[in-house]
């Protein structure tokens, strides 16, 4: 054969591989409300930048029932390209080919795609739509005994390059650990699910009858388990979320987060900030309104918005520079921190610190929850994660005390003892070991009991206590940097960030700490 024939054969092979699982399987994929893997990649990468690797791959030829058949690209599309002008590597499972099952050849391709991201130090993205391991090829210890290295690699590269695992279909069994170890896990409503054991295994092992959706659908993981970061409407919204998320992050941990031009004035004063926080310290309000009034264009990319809602964490920009926001949410449980919210905040603080995103804390916290339920759930251990994460973080840290800053809540939300580069308070701030009511009951228990009118005596003592915790006490002792007009918050934070840009903290050498997980 001459070169022309050879080239024609190559073109024919490429065409066959790119047809994925064939017309019928593609129609089923679309009927399920899903895009095909190649449609997804067209949306993900900047036009004309995607380079595929391993398109000629097919199954390993060891499963008798696959003899004589091809598995186009072996059920997973891998390669690299540019997203928003910056490089990224991808592993995208193709459900139209053997349900996206992970075959031996597919694994070789995935190893290669990870190698590209990890040695060149840019983001690794998984689009997961896979039935899990291809049992026909994975059966027997000769195959299995050497497998599983992907989770080790993913762990080692955590915090070096951003890792995103989007759930765009099923992710069963071991595949569920890919998202577990990734930084960001969007889940498509209705079509995605993940579980260590899928429904048939669950039925066989523990006898429970349950659907994949009830077992590990997006609602379960984004509202109850906390394993998902964001529920998205469909595949297009999912790809948009991945691109938005990555826009806040550097390509790796040695670069700075990308700054964008900002036409939202740094000195913008939002009058609404005068009325968003109720006068009564016992009343709730939506803290995201405060956050949105301060950040660039009100654009907050919340993570885990449906889980542990008593703390709000999310990505935003101030003066064009990415920041991580941590805010107590008085609308839920009065903003008190509990087991899940401490986990959520600690993980987010670690994420931002790993990639150099400054942290901005908005404090309005009546403390950690108390009582037998949270003690049995290990609130001490979970609360300690937040102490640990905020202590470890060496990125610029800015703190605004909006209202309550009680007890250990003040510490974990980056109180003065936790190296904030700037800590300011609104005139409504109350920085205190505990609230006035609780404090008065303990400190003046005898006086109140002995008074002619205990009720009046308590009210009088509460008023006195309150005077001791107004922000001018802390500011008068120079333990906070200033008391500010709420409308000044945006300007103060942007100037604070500018000041802290050159922050350098050298921690003592250690292999690693012992995190209170």
């Amino acid at each position: 054969m001459g070169m022309k024939d050879l080239v024609d054969e190559l073109a024919a092979r490429r065409t066959r591989a790119r047809r994925m699982g064939g017309e019928e399987a593609i129609a089923r994929q679309h009927a399920a409300g899903k895009l095909t893997v190649r449609e997804r990649l067209d949306l993900l990468f900047d036009a004309g930048t995607f380079t595929e690797i391993g398109v000629q791959a097919t199954h390993a030829g060891i499963a008798p029932d696959l003899a004589g058949r091809e598995t186009p690209a072996d059920g997973v599309v891998t390669g690299f390209g540019r997203i928003g002008g910056r490089p990224a590597s991808v592993i995208a499972y193709d459900f139209t080919v053997m349900a996206g099952s992970m075959g031996r050849t597919a694994e070789v391709k995935c190893n290669r795609a990870r190698e590209i991201a990890y040695t060149k130090r840019f983001p690794m993205i998984w689009l997961i739509d896979s039935a899990g391991a291809r049992i026909q090829e994975a059966i027997g210890s000769k195959s299995f005994a050497g497998s599983g290295l992907l989770f080790r690699e993913e762990s080692i590269m955590s915090g070096v390059v951003p890792q995103v695992a989007a759930m765009m279909g099923p992710g069963a069994a071991g595949t569920a650990y890919i998202p577990a170890l990734a930084d960001f896990v969007p889940m498509v409503k209705g079509t995605s699910n993940m579980a260590l054991g899928g429904p048939p295994l669950v039925k066989a092992v523990v006898g429970e009858d349950i659907t994949a959706e009830e077992l590990g659908g997006s609602k379960i993981h984004c509202e109850i388990s906390g394993c998902g970061d964001l529920e998205v409407e469909d595949d297009r919204a999912c790809i948009r979320a991945i691109k938005d998320y990555l826009s806040y992050f550097p390509s790796n941990n040695t670069e700075r987060p990308p700054v964008v031009p900002c036409d939202d004035p740094a000195d913008r004063r939002d009058e609404a900030l005068l009325t968003l926080v109720p006068d009564s310290p016992r009343r709730a309000y939506d803290v995201t309104k405060v956050v949105r009034a301060v950040i660039d264009h009100g654009a907050l990319f919340e993570l885990k918005p449906g889980w542990a809602k008593n703390v709000v964490v999310g990505l935003a920009r101030l003066g064009g520079a990415p920041v991580g926001i941590v805010a107590n949410q008085p609308m839920v449980l009065g903003g008190a921190l509990d087991v899940d919210s401490a986990d959520k905040a600690a993980r987010f603080i670690m994420l931002c610190d790993a990639f150099g995103l400054p942290l901005v804390f908005f404090q309005d916290v009546p403390g950690f929850m108390v009582g037998s339920k949270v003690e049995r759930a290990g609130i001490i251990r979970h609360g300690a994660k937040m102490l640990y994460a905020v202590s470890e973080a060496t990125v610029p840290k800015l703190t605004v005390v909006l209202r309550k800053a009680y007890g250990a809540g003040y510490f974990v939300m980056c109180g003065r003892g936790y190296e904030p580069d700037l800590i300011v308070a609104w005139p409504t701030a109350e920085i205190s070991v505990m609230g006035p009511e609780g404090g008065t009951n303990i400190v003046f228990r005898r006086e109140i009991a002995a008074a002619d009118n205990p009720h009046e005596e308590r009210a009088r003592r509460v008023d006195e206590f309150r005077k001791l915790i107004n922000p001018y006490m802390a500011a008068g002792a120079a333990l906070i940097d200033d008391v500010i007009d709420p409308r000044e918050t945006r300007g103060v934070l942007i100037r604070g960030l500018d000041m802290a840009r050159t922050k350098t903290l050298q921690r003592p050498w250690k292999k690693h700490g012992v995190m209170p997980v």
């Binding site: 016992r282 709730a284 449980l333 009065g334 008190a336 009546p366 929850m369 339920k373 009511e437 609780g438």
Partner: protein, 71 residues
């Protein structure tokens, strides 16, 4: 959707915000608890009419206790 409205946090009943026979919309406060020094509403999980309020002001309720029932 369940008819029973349960407290999602341990606390003291601070205020009864709806009475038997009242129509409530999803998200409306049915009672308000005081806990962690905050007024925390217990909200209707769906639209409906209140059949019964099972608590009184000043009463301590545990997380999971039924505080009201919808028709």
């Amino acid at each position: 959707m369940p008819d029973e409205i349960k407290a999602h946090i341990t606390g003291v009943v601070f205020q009864i915000a709806a009475k038997a026979g009242d129509r409530v919309a999803e998200g409306d406060a049915v009672i308000v608890l005081e806990s962690m020094k905050m007024e925390i509403p217990v909200e209707a999980p769906r639209d409906g009419a209140v059949k019964e309020i099972r608590v009184r002001e000043g009463q301590t309720v545990q997380e999971g206790d039924v505080v009201a029932v919808l028709e």
